[in-house]
Amino acid sequence: MKWQRKDLLGIRGINREEIISILDTAVPMKDVLTREIKKVPTLRGKSVVCLFYEPSTRTRTSFELAAKYMSADTVNISTSSSSVTKGESLIDTGKTIEAMGVDIVVLRHWASGAAHLLSRHVKARVINAGDGAHEHPTQALLDLFTIRERKGRLSGLTVTILGDILYSRVARSNIWGLTAMGAKVRVCGPATLLPPEIAALGVQVFTRVEEALEGADVVNVLRLQLERQQKGLFPSIREYSRLFGLNQERLRLCRSDVLVLHPGPMNRGVEIAGDVANADVAAIEEQVTNGVAVRMAVLYLMMGGSGSGAVH
C-alpha cells in the first residue's frame, strides 16, 4: 500500500495497509537511531515547523529530532513566545509560516479539529501532533509499533486502555488504530471520565478495573490530566489511584506476558505505581525511542508523492 495523503490528521479513516506501511517504514528508521552517525540526507532542503499551542516536551522534541535526523531544517514555535499572544489567528499564523516556504507543519492545538482546519487553508502538509480531546495519531502509531515489536502482532490481542478516556486524544487514536489492526479494545475509567458514546467505536467499556484487566495482553495507562481535577470529575487523586491505579496486584490479573504502556508524562503513584513503571513488562522508555522512529517514517512517507486525498 502506498501512502498518498497530503496530511496526517488522524488515525480515523486510515486503513490497515496504510498503518502497516508506516510501521514497516519505522523499522529501518529505528536502526538509524542506533548508529553512531544519526543522520541520513533524505529530507535535505525540506523544512518542518513545529507549531505548538500547548506545552509539550516529548512530542515536540521527538518531531524535531526525527526531522533533524533526516536532515530537514526545523523551527519550533511555541505560542507563548509568538505573535499568537498578539491575537493572530491559527490560519493567519499558518499562512505566514507557509509564505516562508515551509513544507510540513506539525501542529499541536488545544482545540479539537484545529489540524483539519489548518490543512484546508495551507498547501503545506499538516501533521496533527494532538488536537484537543480528538486525535494524536503519531502517539497511536508509536504505541502500535511498540506492541507489534514486543508481541510480534496486533491482530487478536486484547488491549486495555485505562484512565481518563473522556479527555484523551491518545485513547481515541489508539482505539481507531487498534481496531483497524484487528485488536480487541477495552476501555476503563471512572464513569465520569468515560464518554457514554464511546462504545460506538467498537470497544468494551468497563468501570471496574479488575474486570478490564482480566487476561489483557497490553495495558495502555493514560495520564490522569490533573489540570482537569478542578472540575470535580472524581473525588480525589488518592481515591482515583486506589480505584484505578495500575499496581503489581492488579497487574497479576493480566496475562503473564503483559505489556504496559504509558504515553507520558507519568504521574507516578497515581495512575501507575512506580514499581510497575520500572518493571520489565513496561516499555515506557522504548515508546519514546519508537516515537522518533515512527515520526521519521511519517515524515519520509509524507515528503514523497503528489499529495492528494487528505482525510477530512
Binding site: K2, M29, D31, I37, Y300, L301, M303, G304
Partner: protein
C-alpha cells in the same frame, strides 16, 4: 507485465563463471582477504554478495563478513517520485572502520545508486577503501564512477532494459536485455 522479446546475455552457467572470476579477481587485487568485507546493495546485490562470499571461502578458506545495504534514504530522486519507495533494512553487523569494503550490485548504469551507497557506508564509519563489483556494466554513467570488478560489459541504449534474474529472488539465474520502446 508483457515485455517485448529479449536477448539473453548470460545463462546460469555464464553467471556462475562470472561470479567465480570476480571472486578470484577480488582476492588477487587485494593480495588475499585481510580486512576485506562484502556489502551487497539491496535487492539483487545481496544474493550476489552471498555467492561471492561462498566462492571466496572455497578459494581462500575464509568466510568474509557480509552486509546488506538499503540505499533508499540516500537516493537523490525521492522528491521526484510519485510515491515513496519502500525502505528495507540495512544490515551491516560489523564495524567498517579500517576495512576494505567491496560493494556488490547487479547492474552499474548511471552510477547514482553507487553514489548513494558510498554515502550510506561513510555514515556508518570510515572504511579504508571502497571497491565496486558488478555483474553487468551497461554504460551511460552520469557520475564519475567506475567498477573495479565487472562480470560483463554490455553496450546498451538508454531505451533498453537490462534484467538480472537470480535464483534467490526470481527463481532462476539469467541476464537479458530488452527494448522498452518496442
Amino acid at each position: 507485465m508483457n515485455l517485448p522479446e529479449k536477448a539473453q546475455l548470460m545463462d546460469a552457467t555464464g553467471l556462475r563463471r562470472a561470479i567465480t572470476r570476480i571472486a578470484h579477481e577480488i582476492v588477487e587485487k587485494n593480495h588475499g582477504v585481510d580486512g576485506l568485507v562484502l556489502v551487497g546493495i539491496r535487492r539483487r546485490g545481496v544474493p550476489l554478495a552471498q555467492r561471492l562470499q561462498a566462492k571466496i571461502q572455497a578459494i581462500e578458506g575464509v568466510m568474509l563478513p557480509l552486509g546488506a545495504l538499503d540505499i533508499t534514504l540516500y537516493r537523490d530522486d525521492l522528491t521526484t517520485l510519485d510515491v515513496q519507495p519502500v525502505i528495507r533494512k540495512t544490515e551491516v553487523p560489523f564495524a567498517l572502520a579500517g576495512k576494505k569494503v567491496v560493494l556488490v550490485d547487479d547492474v552499474l548504469y548511471t552510477g547514482r545508486t553507487v553514489r548513494a551507497a558510498m554515502d550510506a557506508l561513510m555514515d556508518m564509519g570510515r572504511p579504508k577503501a571502497i571497491q565496486l563489483a558488478v555483474l553487468i556494466d551497461r554504460g551511460h554513467r552520469e557520475l564519475p564512477i567506475r567498477a573495479d570488478f565487472v562480470g560483463k560489459n554490455v553496450p546498451t541504449a538508454r531505451k533498453e532494459n537490462v534484467s538480472v534474474r537470480l535464483m534467490e529472488l526470481d527463481g532462476d539465474d539469467s541476464v537479458s536485455i530488452q527494448d522498452l520502446t518496442v
